[in-house]
Structures are given as structure tokens and as C-alpha cells.
Amino acid sequence: MHSSTTNVPMVKIQVNGQEVEVKEGSTIIEAFYQNKIDIAHYCWHPGLSVAGVCRLCMVEIEGNPRLQIACNTTVTPGMKVSNVSEKVKDAVKWGLDFHLINHPLDCPICDQAGECGLQDQYMKYGRNDSKMGEAKVKKHKVVDLGPRVVLDSERCILCSRCVRFCDEVPKTSELGIFNRGDRAEVGTFDGKPLTNKYSTNVVDICPVGALTSRDFRFRQRVWFLKDKETICTGCSTGCNVKAYYNKEGVFRVKPVYNAAVNGHWMCDDGRDVYKFVNRENRLIDAKIVSGGKTEHMQPMELAKRLGATLKVRASVALVLTGSHSVEEYEAIVSYFKNDVGTTQIYHWINNPDMIDSFDGILIRGDKNPNTKGLIEVLAKNGISTQWKSLTDAIGTGAVKTVVVAGPENQALFPDMKVKISELSKAAKLVWMTAGKNSELESLAGDVALLPLKTYVEKPGTFVNHAGLRQKTQAVTSIVPGALSLAEAVQLFRGEDLLAKQTPEGDKPNEIGKGRVDNEFTLTRGVW
């Protein structure tokens, strides 16, 4: 989003004695941020309008006797700005004091502790004992704002970020600040709870522990979590996210800024996507059911055995979903086309009715991260099939073995049940998937089940709705034996997997290491 992308003229100003360049018309705080210079602030957020109410981003401008707020002052060429002078430091210290006098300081039981704007900025700009001996203001606690967000008004510093978010992004305006002065509280209007599809963003942008996510609260202290960037696989938008995990699994995802994809935000549906990757929802067991006999084995071993039996030419069909990466599609399509020798490769479209729908913000009806990637690989291999010819071929016995790869997140496949009953009519069914499914696991015929990795356990490339290719990395390991499609193909071919690297998640958790902090202290993080 920065300077070089457009032709807006640049302006040179001096920040703390250092010369920096910013776009003409920028505010002083943008100059600080774009040049990664720390500045105290609460209410300003790069994705929202300017409120100018926390009064923390005070700067001294040469020639101006009064301190100004950096968020509402536009830069002028040659301007000399400082936020390190004693005058500013004192003002910021007092600004923090004002924020803290009625704050409950219940950090030990607060979910935000460890990633809190008050804590971080207190350590950086405050570090003084409380000066107020009087009683603190009492306000409402554990207020249900909506199904996903809980409010603690005493912790709230009334920065109005959440209110502005609802006004400006989903434009649903559920939140308002009620009452005046130090009795003011964030709240919802009667009978209109916070139900917009983007509501959890207010938890992310809340600088303190006032707004907490009902899903995440009290489940993990943030300093026991590591995070890595990946993308959201909930729909074809491909929002950039950070997954927060430890050896127990993934606990939450938060959006990562990407101007070309999701800006600062992500939707609430995307927040729930992580749940299917955790162990309790996963297919753990590789097994073959044949002639009434069930045999359990390691996934690798099953894959090798399947490879030997799959080359029955022509009577084998492959079903793919839009859940996997381009690399995996290339591997498996090439294997079926060249090694197995079939072009009976089918694209399972999970919700054809709404595939082109879009809510105007981020949510798209195509609930797959890589439909474009799959279509691209199929086209490259000259494969073009209709679903109906598969069911017909199963009916006539022309297809005897059906191999299904996916879906990764069954929650996004409303037709899962229908497809199981359709495909299980084939003489032999090989189903490779990441999630557990009681119907699949209880199929009686000739069935093989192979557990796959999820998007957090493997690297890959995803092509979003706009054709943007996004590379992801392996975040952690959750089901150790599970395979990626590419690995499964290697094993089908009878090759050995390369010496398997232990993903980071298998190592003892190094607390706090690599954690990218919140936006408030740039020396420790990025925005």
C-alpha cells in the first residue's frame, strides 16, 4: 500500500531528526508508520477513519507551540516533527495515565494479556506507578454484544475503533457509545446484536481486553502460542491470515494485511475454518475394508499398496475438489493421466448455485481456496469431464474404482452425504481426506481410507478468485502420519518419500519465539 505503487508526489519531512519521504496529503502518523518509527496511539487504525480521541499520538512540530495529534495533522514539505522531546514524552505519559486510572488492571485474568496495547505501550511510554488513590468507575462486565464477541466495559478505553469498524467496513453500525464522560460505554441497540459477518475483527482491533472472542477466550494464553502466516481456505478470496498454534493444535486465526486480497480484515466464517484441522476432527486411521475384513496400517504403507492395485487402466476414475494446492493437483493429475492411464478425472463442485456470489466485501460463494488452480491444471492436461458421466459410468460398471481426493474441510461441502452414497456404488472406493466422517468410516463395501494433511501442514500454491497465486508454508504438524496428495502420489509410484523433515510443530514449543507482536510497538512487530 505504500509509496511506490502510485504516482502521488512525495513530500520530505523530518521525523526525530531523520529525513523521511511520504506521499503528499499523508498524515504525520502515516509518516511514522510507513517508516516504522514508533508512535504511541490507540484510536488510530490504518484501515479506519481518524477519530482523534485517545490523544496519545502527540507530536511537537517545529514552530508550533502546542502539541498536535499526528493522526489529524497533514504533512507539509520540510516539516520537522518530534515525538521524543521531553514535552511529548511527558504528555504521552500523562495520556497513558488518563487511560489507566479507571482500567481494572486485571491482566492476570485478561485474555488480551501478552498482546495488549495498554501493556505494550505502558512498558514503552509509561512505567510509572498509579497516581490515583480514588475509587475506579464501575461498568458492565461480560456483556454479550453478539454471538461471537464479549465486552468488558471496565477494560474499554473508548477508542471507538470497534464502532468505526461497524460503521465503515460492514456498514451495519450495530455498535455505539452510550452515555457520556467516564460513564460512557460501548454497546448495541436494543434487539440489534452484533451479528455482521465480520464482527470478530473488532476483537482484533480492540487495543485492550475489552472485546474478546467467544471462540478463543480462556482457551490459551497468547504467550504459549506461536504464529505463522498462511491463507484462509474458507472461500476463493484467500484472505491472508496468521494461524496461532502450539503442539495441541491451532487455536485461532487472525487476518494479515494484504492490500491486494483482504486489506486488514477477514470474515467470521473464515475464523472457524481452523477448527477442522485439529486432531479431534481428523481422520487418523488408514484402513482397508475388503471382503468384510478390516485392516489398519500406517498411511504410508496403505499408499504403497494402493499404488500397486490402481493400475487397472480405464476402469479407474479420480474425483478432485477445489481444496488442494496447485502442486498437488499437478502431481495427482499427472499420475492418473500418465501412470494409471485414465482421463476420467472429475471436478466435484460443492455448491454450484452460489459459486459466483459475493457480498461486496470479502465473502465469496465459491467455498474452495483453489477452484481456479484445479481448473487450470485440468485444462493444461486437456481434461474436460461432466459429473453425470461419472455417475453413469459407475452405474454401468465402466468405472470400477473411484479414487476421491478431498474435500479437505467437509463443513464446506453440504453435499458430502449425497456424494458418499453416489460414489460408494462403485465396486472399489479409495477415499483420501483430512477430516473424519462417520459415514465414510462405516462404509461396508470395498473401501480404503487414507488420511491427508490439511493446508496448515504442507506448503503449496493457491489461486484465488482473481487469479492471484499465493504460496503458503507448512505451519505445524497435527496428524503426524497424514500425507499430502503429492506425497501420496510418490508412494503410489513406489518411490520413497524424501527424508521427512520434522515440521516445527513437532519440536518442543519455544515460548514467545518468533511471535510477531501487535501493531503498537513497531520494534517488536509489523502492522
Binding site: 502546542r66 487511560h99 486510572i101 497516581k131 490515583m132 468507575v137 457520556r180 464522560g181 467516564d182 460512557a184
Partner: protein
């Protein structure tokens, strides 16, 4: 020169309230005159008159009008009748006694700034004056003085009354605009200033009742003629609201530059027998307090009071005699600002409450010796740090009371009782 009847010439005549009565005394003749002038000429006359905003800030009215951009956008004229500064009640008198004077002034001003829509924003508690104004507006509309083609001039201007819900902060011009727009009455971040982006994001002028009424006199006497009263920098007359320990409190019109002590002793009949002047709040509760000695020297104009570190403000003079405890008086003031802070900006939201709590501790005998300095530090850090001036308005009385009457605060903390009136004060009864 003593009390004058310049703006308030006919205020004591009951018929002046009606359109007919107002016209009998020359009403709306100045509107007719103005409508034949060039709008710019009116602005020039107002500039030449030296008229300064009578609401409190004292900004040059002619200059304010000149800030409107000439981009053909619709613009609005708003009359600030929120009169909420404690101690001020002169606008109420003007609206009750001479509603048509305000309407005439507004129509002239609207013509000068080329606005076709004007509103009077009146505070929620002023239901009486609002009814009188409503009646006057209805009369003026019926007489073709408001609406299309006023007095055959081709100039259209609509004018309506809007009753607020009663909030100090809605007297701040951007708070007033928010409230008029239907939002919570909270000041807006500046820039942009209302002259560029005000009501409904259009150029807007906000003037006080008395300022707009004075425009009628400026049209009658010309800019130079208006200067027959007052001083070079504080031209004209002003209505002062005098309350507190004087024998004849009320609203008095005197020329700017008049001696404060004369107003107290001559017009207001002095103090109660046996009482001595202790302090005077010269311009509404937010104006820094003057000691008796300063009050003796003070003249009622912008420059003298500014020179004493205080301000003329809205012209609300609160006279405090030696029977009052300054801790008690400050307690009332701080309670008010704590109650009225809109809560947007942190220093004001938290600071006003903190200050009130400390004063409360002093009054109830559990304050610490360092609390006097703490009051000063809090107030000092609230000053100039917020969107609007409410934070300053809350901080300035604290700074001036504590600095000038520090002994009373220290005595109270040490002895756990007031230095005056046998130690018993009102605030102890109420809180």
C-alpha cells in the same frame, strides 16, 4: 458611562415580543435596508464594526463570515442558543424579550453569507424561550419575512428552531452541529472547520444569539457607528449576566471597557452589608477566577481580562463574597464538568472525573497532602490536549482556584473542615 440601552432599548416593553410591537419600534426596517445592500458590503460593515463573537471565544464575526469558501455549495447559518455556560442567562433574556430582533439579525446574516437555510439551536431546558421563538417564527413566516422572496428582494431564506436535549457540549459549535444532524452531541475533529465542512458537511457559520442581534444595530448605525460604544479592540456593548452575592443580580447591558467593580457596586447594588468581595468569575464558570484585588482593577473587555489570564467569555459574572469556601465553589464547578464531558477524548473524560473525586476526598476529609499539587498536575495535562475546549474549561477553574486560594485547600486537607463559615459547607450536605 454606565448602563446603556443599545441592544436592549425596548426590552422592557411587553409588546416588543410580538411582530406588530417589534415593527412599531422600527423592526425589520434594517432587514429591508440590508436586502438592498451588496452582501459583501454587509460583511465589510460587520468587519468594520469590530464585532466579536459574544458566545465566549470572542472571534471576529466579520472574519468568520469571510472564511466561507466561494464554491457555490449550499451553506448554512446556525444560531447558537444553547447558552449552557454556568452563570450565563443573557441570551435567554434576549430571546424572551425580543425574539424578532434575533430573527431579523439572522436573516441579515443569512443574506450576507448567502445562506438559504438557517436554524436556531436552542438548549432543551429553554422551553419557555423556545415557545416564544416558535411563535415569533410563525408570525414572521406568515408575514413573508421568512421563506421565499423576502420583502420582494428575490432572496429566499428558511428559518427553523431546533430544541436540543440539554447538554453543555452542544454549545460547542461542532457539538451543536453533530446534535443538529441527529447524532450524539459530540464535537468533531478540526480541521475541517465548520466554515469549510459543517452542518451536513457543507460550509456553515455558527453565531451566538447576541452576536446576531447586534448585526441589526450595525446595519442601522454602520460599522463605524457601532463603535460609539466600547474600546478599540472590544467594540460595542455587551449584555452581562451577574449572579452570586450581589444585591441586584440580573442581566445588564454596558459598553465594553466598563469597570467590573462599578457594575457590581453601582448597577448591581453592591454586596450584602458586612460582606467583603473575595473573588469574581468573570466570564462563565470556565473562566479563570479573579481575586478581589484583580476584580477591582478589571475592565469588562476582551484584552484586559485576557491580560489577567482570564477571559470575558460569555459575560457571566459570578460574584463570590467572603462567606463562601472556595473548595465548595470549585466542588460545584468540577461536578458540572465531570457530568458534562462528552467522553470522547481521554484526558477530559478521565481527568474531569479524577478531579471531582479528589475534591470530594478533600471535602470528606480523606484527602492526602499531595492532592493539591495533584489537582494542578491533572488540570495542567488536560489543558490543550483535546478536540474541543471543554477540557480546558474544566481545567482552568481548577488551576486558578487552587493557585489563587491554595491556603483554603491546604487548610481543608489538614483540618478536615473549611476555613470559612465555621467549617460547614454546602457540598458536604449534598454529596
Amino acid at each position: 458611562m454606565a448602563e446603556v440601552k443599545y441592544l436592549s432599548e425596548h426590552y422592557l416593553k411587553p409588546e416588543y415580543r410580538s411582530l406588530d410591537g417589534y415593527k412599531k419600534h422600527g423592526g425589520y426596517e434594517m432587514l429591508a435596508k440590508a436586502l438592498k445592500m451588496e452582501p459583501q458590503k454587509i460583511i465589510d460593515e460587520v468587519k468594520a464594526s469590530g464585532l466579536r463573537g459574544r458566545g465566549g471565544a470572542g472571534f471576529s464575526t466579520g472574519m468568520k463570515w469571510g472564511f466561507l469558501p466561494n464554491n457555490g455549495e449550499p451553506r448554512y447559518l446556525l444560531c447558537n442558543a444553547d447558552e449552557s455556560e454556568p452563570g450565563t442567562f443573557k441570551d435567554r433574556v434576549m430571546m424572551e424579550k425580543a425574539p424578532h430582533q434575533l430573527i431579523e439579525g439572522m436573516l441579515i446574516a443569512a443574506f450576507a453569507v448567502k445562506s438559504h437555510k438557517a436554524y436556531i439551536y436552542i438548549r432543551g431546558e429553554y422551553m419557555g424561550p423556545a415557545a416564544i421563538l416558535e411563535q415569533a417564527i410563525t408570525e414572521a413566516k406568515a408575514a413573508g419575512l421568512i421563506g421565499k422572496n423576502i420583502l420582494g428582494s428575490g432572496f429566499d431564506c428558511d428559518l427553523d428552531l431546533y430544541l436540543g436535549a440539554g447538554a453543555y457540549i452542544c454549545g460547542e459549535e461542532t457539538g451543536l452541529i453533530s446534535s443538529l444532524e441527529g447524532y450524539k452531541g459530540q464535537p468533531k475533529l478540526k480541521p475541517p472547520f465548520p466554515a469549510v465542512q459543517g452542518y451536513l458537511k457543507k460550509p456553515t457559520i455558527v453565531n451566538n444569539v447576541e452576536t446576531l442581534a447586534a448585526v441589526v444595530n450595525i446595519i442601522r448605525d454602520g460599522g463605524q457607528g457601532y463603535r460609539k460604544y466600547g474600546t478599540e479592540k472590544s467594540a460595542g456593548t455587551k449584555l452581562f449576566s451577574i449572579s452570586g452575592n450581589v444585591n441586584k443580580p440580573g442581566t445588564y447591558e454596558v459598553p465594553l471597557g466598563y469597570k467590573m467593580i462599578d457594575l457590581i457596586n453601582i448597577e448591581c447594588g453592591g454586596l450584602k452589608p458586612g460582606r467583603k468581595l473575595k473573588a469574581v468569575v468573570p466570564g462563565g464558570s470556565s473562566a479563570p477566577v479573579l481575586t478581589a484585588e484583580e476584580a477591582e482593577r478589571a475592565t469588562l473587555d476582551y484584552e484586559c481580562l485576557a491580560g489577567m489570564g482570564s477571559m470575558l467569555g460569555s459575560g457571566a459574572i459570578i460574584v463570590i463574597d467572603d462567606s463562601n469556601c472556595m473548595v465548595d465553589v470549585l466542588s460545584t464547578i468540577t461536578h458540572f464538568y465531570h457530568h458534562e464531558s462528552c467522553g470522547q477524548c481521554t484526558p477530559c473524560r478521565e481527568g474531569t472525573g479524577w478531579i471531582e473525586k479528589i475534591i470530594h476526598s478533600i471535602i470528606h476529609g480523606h484527602a492526602k497532602p499531595g492532592d493539591v499539587d495533584m489537582l494542578l498536575k491533572i488540570a495542567d495535562n488536560m489543558k490543550g490536549r483535546t478536540i474541543c475546549a471543554l477540557s480546558d474549561a474544566a481545567a482552568l477553574p481548577v488551576l486558578s482556584f487552587v493557585t489563587k486560594f491554595r491556603d483554603e485547600f491546604e487548610y481543608f486537607i489538614k483540618e478536615k473542615k473549611s476555613k470559612v463559615r465555621g467549617g460547614q459547607i454546602y457540598a458536604q450536605l449534598h454529596h
